[in-house]
Point group: C2
Chain length 739, copies 2
């Protein structure tokens, strides 16, 4: 019995392998592709990745640094040596670096903040301080400010609403905010809107210091002196070189005057460690913070304002520096004008082992393995482009300038963009255009998780299965993985959200630990001890991203599929309706509680916290146009699915072009309200949340800011976008041979 | 227009006052009662309470201390001087006090714990150290233990389940637990069951130290050296003198041998401050604790075991000491054999300003005001007994011995017991027998909140109205307040849960702040600064509890009412069904996830946390008997309600007796499983949760421990109990005159 079962299993495995169908491939080409992938996997080397990681992370290699240039040249040299047609495309971008950073507590006593990350004997990388970039927030305004401190929690819109209920104004004050929960650039932006004259951002130990685990070098978490650097450029308005929005930062492009730049903060902003934040927070008075605002420092947190008073002085070198994008091509032998682009940035804040090199070495391993295949006779049908971007950290600048530079060609020729960035041990994180969801699902089902031996899809599904609260029955029964929708935070943004190029963002994570992000401690040693020892997940990422690249490059029919897209958009529309309903009910309830006096009665009369203000009631919003457009799209995607397999060979070229162009239909030249650079009407980063995605952003953000007239207008635009896509899908389906 | 509105308001007020009906009173007697209450209010003095609080809290006055005896004598003297027939009833009880307390960290380095609360110059009470009772847990076992530390979070059953998933055994180890979330006595009890050789309990600053607010003396919260004392006697088995379960601790009662006592902990247990806990926790290793277990100390919390090793040595003086209950009576002039009992304990761990004196001075204010009324000619219909209990802190001992002593008379004669204990600024907290719910609701509607001028009921309803998540529509629309069901933790337990005497527990709180509970810092100064400045809520409590006492003493028809009881019990039965259903679904889901390997796949293979074990599936449980009994009870209570107003005058004596005896029907002589002292089958403290209530405890706890056979048996018992009450209510209704 046992033997029979065992034989049965073998048979089953053989059958599944033999039967495996690949989206976009017929039986014959699928078999060839699967063989190719087998050989591709064999070409991936963890040892290579480990060696590259060690070499590239040896020195701080931020954009504009000598070491950064060396990193670009090294990558270029390697790619070139493997046979790629490699160039370095250079852009002249504006980059602020710190000149003066001074932070003093001046009341009730003078304490001068150290603002320095400690060298640790246990990690020699942290001792070599040549070329180190001091902790700062890129694109903070220059300036000096003095004022009482106000604690603003994470500095989100809801935090400011609560502060208002305490009667606390930020006018003329210096805001101190915790890192986390929202993108860092939002914190000074909203604080400035409320009148703050400066913002300090610190990493609370509850969020990624000792409250999460042992601190470096004993463990992976944030050292008391560690500071998260990072850009505060207002990327949700536009990313890239601040002087050349929408245009490449090359000779001949007219630069904005500094005073016309919309994406530099209005006030000085400085990131500090929890060691430096402690005396500031300890000296504060005023109301004790709400319980949910309490952090991990051994003090009572107070809202202020004051009596703690600080003086902050920041000056930056506003230099024009070269950003070096390494671009390596292998031309396709059938559709050379169709480009499959695979990218990862190479600049780090300092050593940048995890961010970005862990993703970059996976990309290099892919490129090297593909080159081996080519040497053995393989030729991709479409052109493959490997890109190593510079200047991602200060604001996605390298990729954005390149995309803006080659916008016309990319719009016509880019099939898809596959991005990676920092990688780590754990579960597959796959986000992107939902027309590629089924495609990614197929890949995830055949790549093995190195720790457990099951597929990375099976492991992801297991995590979903045990999640609390239990997944809905629908989610539990759904076989396919879901791509998360893309906000921002890495180089896919210009491709997807500016040009409407279908994009993926791939990575692993959830089991590598640490608070090294953007600190001095993001080193080779930290990475290989705590995030992906042996780079096993580096190879796993290469298998996933490599398959995505190779299948897109080789598929006779491009693997775009639209029923999953409809399924996801349908979910977003449901969310929007629930959002509006919830807001309506919450507003009505809150208004009733306030106007009847119940709210005031329930609060402690001895405390500063008061009832909220009365808000305008939320009207019913007409979602019908969007829902009807969705019905049409559903019909079109079903029709397209049925048409599959019936396309005449002669139409394949046109078919593929229409398929990869479909994502373009989701954009509008006029872009989103108040930010025309963002043209995609399904995915965008949040204007007041930063990296976090807003799906159907025109509608969603209008509801969130209670601008219901705009919401209605944006519903019409989103509906028109979906209608255009429906029409486009029908045009594709028309190519099919009628039986 | 404004004037008209104003006149209208006056008219409305007059009408409501004139029309106000009182449960148990006819129009004429109600008018007299309301006048009486008006005069009663005028007799209450905040200044008296303040002076008494200052005097009684001047010295540590724990049971067995000289100062404790003086406090009892002082109270007795006052009550006597106001005209009450006052006696001190004395019991000889076993009381351990600390002789040796030594706690040393011995690995990785020697650190000797201070175990001493600091004197603070800002609060002179804390400097007078004569007669101070050092921090300890009463009824800890004597002994010395040495072992590695294991961190057990709050030491609840679910914490032990999670530790087991980490593969951590407590065998031979010393458990360190946080105070809070469960009653302290449960922590060493469960740890001992798991093999621990000792338990240390500390107050984490996240729970009531600097994580909640400024610490004493700057603010109200727990000083770094403060220690919560408290009993760890296994009160959920039986409270009172450990040597005389069920019997009074008087001469002639046979005492148990020490080795036969079930309610002393099996292992030594010591409470410590967060200052003393810090080096122990800091020295621990092993897995980092789950995120929800992290506390407020500036360290990474680890589970252990070890490498921190501690030695704990505890020796106690096991003395027999006198407990002095002060009992003051005023005989009723119509039903002298019917007793309305109003009590609050007088012993404190040290100064005991909040606990218990803030409640006691309210009781004294009531007694003094009632005495004034009596001097002016008022005579209660029923006998009023004011009781000031001794030895509540070590285990409800004074009240329990008195109840056991007078059990026979109390069973026959006690109408109700009204308890108070520590009091503070804020909202009415009213718990108790649901046959008194409507009665309390009427009182809460006419006593004003001193801060806002609305009734304490209106203020409580406002708090419910703004609560998040929003209350259910049913709860939002329910006019009447709900009594919370009583678990344990104060002196109502022997009355309610041993004898089945309808009881109330009344107090205010939620706006007084602080972590002074059971520490050296529970002083007059702390109380009057942070908990109830001016004792405004002392008088408010006196108004509520005084009305309850006076109405019960005077009502021509006792104000018991059963539709509210049915409504609440019906809710508990719903909860039980949901509990069983949820447990069945959770067990099935967890078993499926474990047996398919999904659970293991989703966990980090590098971490110690493993999947849970497979549990026996949960069967369907037959709740029908309970639900049918509830139907009968509903019918009986409705019939009783309709009978109201139709009782012949001649039957009033019998009617009242049957009414107050009704609560007795909810008890059974055989008590609850494994704890026969607890006879009430609707309310009990949890056997593994301590103070926290378990409603319909026989059934609920059997389900919780997955003993489904017992659950079915207990459903039959609970159903029989309800059936008996139904029959009893029908007997009462039969007394009504048929029209």
């Amino acid at each position: 019995m046992r033997m029979l079962l065992f034989l049965g299993s073998i048979l089953y495995v053989c059958l599944t392998h033999a039967e495996q169908s690949l989206l976009g491939f017929d039986a014959e080409s699928a078999a060839i592709q699967l063989q190719l992938e087998q050989r591709f996997d064999e070409g991936l080397s963890q040892a290579d990745q480990d060696a590259w990681l060690r070499e590239l992370s040896a020195k701080p290699h931020h954009v504009g640094s000598e070491a950064g240039q060396v990193v670009a040249q090294t990558i270029s040299k390697w790619l070139s040596s493997w046979g790629y047609d490699t160039t370095i495309e250079t852009y002249q971008i504006l980059l602020p670096t710190p000149k003066v950073r001074k932070l003093d507590l001046i009341e009730p006593e003078l304490i001068v903040a150290g603002l320095t990350e400690e060298a640790l004997p246990e990690d020699p990388s942290t001792a070599a301080r040549e070329g180190l970039l001091a902790p700062y927030n890129a694109f903070s305004a220059d300036g000096s400010a003095e004022g009482e401190l106000v604690f603003i929690n994470y500095g989100r819109p809801e935090d400011h609403e609560l502060l208002a209920r305490y009667g606390i104004s930020l006018e003329g004050k210096i805001a101190i905010a915790k890192y986390g929960k929202s993108w860092r650039g939002i914190k000074p932006k909203l604080a400035a809107e409320k009148g703050a004259v400066a913002t300090i951002i610190y990493s609370d130990p509850a969020d990624d210091g000792y409250g999460r685990g042992d601190v470096y070098p004993h463990g992976a978490y944030k050292h008391a002196s560690a500071v998260q650097r990072g850009s505060v450029m207002d990327m949700p308005v536009y990313p890239g070189d601040v002087l050349t929005p929408g245009q490449p930062a090359i000779a001949g492009t007219e630069r904005l005057a500094m005073e016309d730049v919309a994406t530099i903060t209005k006030i000085p902003v400085l990131p500090v460690s929890y060691q430096d934040a402690l005396p500031l927070l300890k000296a504060m008075g005023g109301s004790v913070v709400p319980q949910e605002w309490v952090g991990g420092l051994p003090i009572t947190y107070h809202l202020g304002p004051g009596p703690a008073r600080v003086r902050l002085t920041l000056e930056f070198n506003w230099d024009r520096v070269p950003a070096y994008n390494v671009i390596a091509r292998w031309p396709g032998n059938q559709y050379p004008e169709e480009w499959v682009i695979r990218g990862n940035h190479h600049d780090g804040w300092n050593h940048g082992a995890a961010d970005p090199l862990s993703g970059l070495v996976a990309l290099l391993a892919e490129a090297k393995a593909v080159a081996s295949l080519i040497r053995e006779g393989y030729q991709p049908s479409r052109t493959i482009i490997y890109a190593a971007w510079d200047a991602e950290e200060p604001g996605l600048i390298g990729s954005t300038e390149w995309v803006e530079h080659h916008a016309e060609k990319l719009s016509k020729q880019a099939v898809a963009y596959i991005n990676t960035d920092g990688n780590s041990r754990g579960f597959l994180n796959a986000g992107g255009s939902h027309s590629l969801e089924k495609f990614v699902d197929e890949i995830a089902a055949v790549v093995d998780d190195p720790q457990t031996g099951v597929s990375v899809k099976a492991r992801l599904k297991a995590r979903l299965a045990i999640s609390e609260p239990a997944p809905s029955e629908e989610d539990a029964e759904r076989d396919g993985l879901r791509l998360y929708p893309l906000g921002s935070g890495s180089d896919y943004t210009p491709f997807l959200q500016h040009l409407g190029i279908a994009s993926l963002n791939l990575g692993f994570g959830g089991e590598g630990s640490g608070g090294s992000y953007h600190t001095l401690y993001d080193t080779y040693q930290h990475y290989t001890r705590f995030r992906d020892p042996g780079l096993a997940y580096g190879s796993t990422l290469a298998k996933v991203a490599g398959r995505a690249t190779l299948r897109l490059a080789n598929a006779p029919q491009l693997p775009f599929e639209f029923t999953h897209l409809v399924d996801n958009i349908s979910g977003y529309v449901d969310e929007l309706e629930i959002l509006a309903d919830t807001l309506r009910k919450q507003t009505a309830r809150s208004n009733a509680l306030v106007s009847t006096g119940q709210f005031a009665l329930a609060l402690d009369p001895d405390k500063a916290l008061k009832a909220p203000v009365i808000r305008a009631e939320v009207p019913f919003i007409n979602f019908t146009p969007l829902k009807n457009a969705l019905l049409q799209l559903q019909a079109a995607s079903t029709r397209l699915e049925q048409a599959n397999g019936s396309y005449p060979q002669a139409q394949m070229g046109r078919l593929n072009k229409l398929l990869y162009q479909s994502e373009r239909l989701l954009t509008r030249d006029h872009g989103l309200p108040d930010r025309s650079w963002y043209r995609h009407h399904i995915y965008a980063p949040g204007l007041t949340t930063g990296y976090g995605v807003k799906t159907i952003p025109g509608v969603r953000e209008a509801i969130e800011i209670r601008d219901f007239d705009t919401a209605e207008e944006q519903i019409l635009i989103a509906a028109a976008v979906l209608d255009d896509l429906s029409a486009h899908l029908n045009v594709i389906a028309d190519l099919a041979q009628v039986e």
